[in-house]
């Protein structure tokens, strides 16, 4: 039987997934199933009370380029996916109330409404800007380009 393991850091976060040649017993290595090994969501989840839990942000935008005229804007929509690898009857899914966004070092928290947190961005300064979520286990980021009007 293949030996699949999730490697945890000191905080209990999954920082690596591996297939080893033999069985290993270690506090920082948790045996996982083939399905978990192949899952994209296990990495960066947290191992708590025998289960892998966590929240993953999904960030979508209606466009990736805006005109840097101060009025054109991109609308971003963030949603949260529960990446817990256990069934809901054995572990209670965490409820996320809001998402914190960061842009150029400025952070703001937006409450989730109907499962989404929506923000918009406008710019008078041309350039590339990365908007990211910061308060989830698996955060997302998007590049927004503000194109010069001249």
């Amino acid at each position: 039987m293949p030996n699949y393991y999730a490697q945890l850091n000191k905080a209990g976060k999954v920082i690596g997934i591996s297939q080893l040649a033999g069985e290993v017993v270690s506090e920082g290595l948790i045996p996982i199933s083939v399905e978990q090994y192949e899952s994209e969501n296990l990495l960066m989840s947290r191992y708590e009370n025998g289960a892998f839990i966590g929240q993953k942000a999904v960030l979508e935008a209606d466009k990736s380029v805006i005109i840097a005229d101060g009025s054109d804007m991109v609308i971003l929509r963030a949603s949260v996916i529960d990446i817990s690898s256990v069934s809901q009857d054995t572990a209670k899914a965490e409820v996320i109330q809001d998402i914190t966004f960061e842009l150029n070092g400025v952070q703001q928290t937006v409450p989730l409404i109907n499962g989404y947190a929506e923000i918009s961005i406008s710019s008078e300064e041309p350039g590339e800007y990365v908007i990211r979520t910061v308060n989830l286990d698996y955060n997302a980021e998007l590049l927004v380009v503000a194109a010069d009007v001249s």
Partner: protein, 91 residues
């Protein structure tokens, strides 16, 4: 939501919004460059007055100030512009 439209008094639904203002240093550098281009395109003044010399010197110092600030920002890793947050709070 359009900030310009809102400023013009047209009510639109508010949302959580990041607005990135123009970098004042970029605008100042552009203004200095335009003035310099205008000088280059004009013929050489017949008479060199104190006012002309003063204006030239002030432009050189202003350009120096812009460049120094840009270097400081690059060294400190500070972003050139800080976004403004317009919240839906209070609706």
């Amino acid at each position: 939501m359009s900030l310009k439209k809102e400023a013009a008094g047209k009510p639109e639904p508010k949302r959580n919004h990041f607005h990135i203002p123009a970098n004042p240093d970029r605008l100042k550098a552009k203004e200095l460059q335009e003035r310099h281009t205008k000088r280059l395109n004009n013929s050489k003044p017949v008479e060199m007055t104190n006012e002309i010399i003063y204006e030239l010197l002030m432009d050189v110092l202003a350009k120096q100030e812009v460049l120094e600030r840009k270097l400081d920002n690059m060294m400190s890793g500070k972003p050139a512009v800080t976004p403004q947050w317009i919240s839906r709070d209070g609706l």
